[in-house]
Amino acid sequence: MLVNYFTRALFVTFSISLLALTGCAQPIEPWVKPYERQNLADPIMRTNRHPIANMHVAHVYEARESARGAEGTGGGGCGCN
């Protein structure tokens, strides 16, 4: 079972890398130019605008729900019982 889950993770990682590599090899130009990214660069668009609050939110949920992982906060577990 452990091997299955890691195989799955590695497969997804490999697929993502392959997509990225083929994306680079194809003659597709980046379609959103740097000077068109001012909206995305606006501070209000930052998902990690308040990192200390996000870490607390992730901890609150991880201690009370069974789901864990892929939060995007780079956590390493609840660290509690």
Binding site: A20, H56, R64, S66, R68, A70, G76
Partner: protein, 387 residues
């Protein structure tokens, strides 16, 4: 002729300035950069289901050079618990958990490597972990790829029993891709596999079973969990910039594990600035999960199966979060040394509804007590300084 030349010169100057601004802007976006130096001080509070947890937290980030940044995080939980699990078989307790984290980030061209170590310590649990992440900007910086690994070594003890000491280890492997799709929309896909092995029980919790040999008709025995648990999570996120300068975020995560728990959560949040000093944030999140294969609220007899659990966290339940946050961007004249600073207050209201976990402290025949549910208030008040 002179007028035409003057007009051409003005046009040229305008174009040149425009190009210069665009170039400068594109430079700042093209090259990966380390996040800005900041310090955050937070007070957090959780109150619900008979549990009160609060304490401070501090986060510091400082660039040592253009390519190296260091960070430190310190967090305290002061816990006072009289939850339904505790009240049905034990007495209320209080304890403190302290967590510390040190990190270093190294930027090389368009790649950021981050290494952090963490320790979480409470009377009956010691967790030590190391975390490594690499992220790389590619495809004209429209795409960011990331990979990460974490290892945690944990020591489980039981208060009042000096001879009890167990271990468990956790391995995490994660990958992610974020992609700018349009000038207003970016999406991200993150996956993470987590594998645990060792003693995964809560050493205090028990299961209940029908026992006709005692007057109450109910007996208790310790929980028995499997010694391994493997899980896989996939999260899809989208961030959208609205035309009137506001932001919309959507997250969906699916989770499954080897204990047969399937879970998913969906979150929608909206951030809206008012003028130059106030930002309002609204959030709604829904979570639901199925039960673990070895969970039961009431077993038919003692040792009914090889694995036994009655943790409400392993039952079939859902929860709903409504959140409200306000950030005040403090005007420069009131800031220390002209540093940009902000004060924020966030409040979450969470309601938990359990579908097969009953409240044994309530009135009702054995196994027919009302289903349990509770609500919690979560508050975060914090102050951030960018220096």
């Amino acid at each position: 002729m002179a007028v035409t030349n003057k007009a051409n010169y003005a046009k040229f100057r305008q174009s040149f300035l425009c190009l210069l601004i665009c170039s400068l802007f594109s430079l700042s976006l093209q090259a990966a950069v380390l996040e800005e130096d900041r310090a955050d001080v937070l007070y957090h509070s959780y109150d619900g289901g008979g549990m009160k947890i609060d304490g401070p937290a501090i986060l510091l980030r400082k660039k040592a050079s253009e390519s190296i940044a260091v960070s430190a995080y310190y967090y305290v939980d002061t816990i006072s618990s009289a939850s339904v699990d505790v009240m049905s078989t034990a007495s209320p307790y209080s304890e403190e958990r302290q967590e510390g984290q040190l990190g270093i980030e190294y930027l090389h061209d368009k790649t950021i490597m981050a290494l952090s170590v963490r320790q979480s310590d409470e009377d009956d649990y010691l967790a030590k972990s190391v975390n490594f992440n690499v992220s790389h900007d590619t495809f004209g910086d429209l795409t960011n790829l990331s990979l990460g690994f974490a290892f945690s070594d944990n020591e489980v003890r039981r208060n009042g029993d000096d001879l009890f000491e167990e271990q468990n280890q956790q391995y995490r492997l994660r990958a992610g891709i974020s992609q700018i799709l349009t000038k207003n929309l970016s999406i991200a896909l993150n996956v993470e596999s987590v594998a645990d092995e060792g003693y995964l029980n809560n050493p205090y919790r028990t299961v209940r079973y029908i026992d006709s040999s005692v007057p109450s008709g109910v007996g208790y025995q310790s929980e028995i969990y499997p010694n391994t648990r493997n899980s896989f999570s996939t999260k899809l996120s989208a961030s959208y910039y609205l035309p009137y300068r506001a932001a919309l975020f959507l997250h969906y995560r699916h989770f499954s594990d080897s204990w047969q728990i399937d879970a998913s959560d969906i979150e929608l949040s909206y951030r809206h600035p008012f003028g130059k000093t106030v930002e309002l944030e609204l959030k709604v999140r829904y979570y639901q999960q199925t039960q673990a294969s070895f969970y039961s609220d009431l077993f038919s007899h003692q040792n009914a199966q090889n694995f036994l659990a009655r943790d409400k966290e392993l039952s079939d339940f859902d929860d709903l979060t409504l959140g409200l946050g306000v950030t005040y961007l403090i005007p420069k004249q009131f800031s220390i040394s002209d540093w940009r600073s902000e004060a924020s207050l966030q409040w979450d209201y969470i309601t938990f509804n359990y579908n097969n976990f009953r409240d044994p402290t309530a009135e009702g025949a054995l196994g027919e007590e009302p289903l349990y549910g509770f609500s919690a208030h979560v508050i975060r008040a914090f102050f951030s300084v960018y220096f």
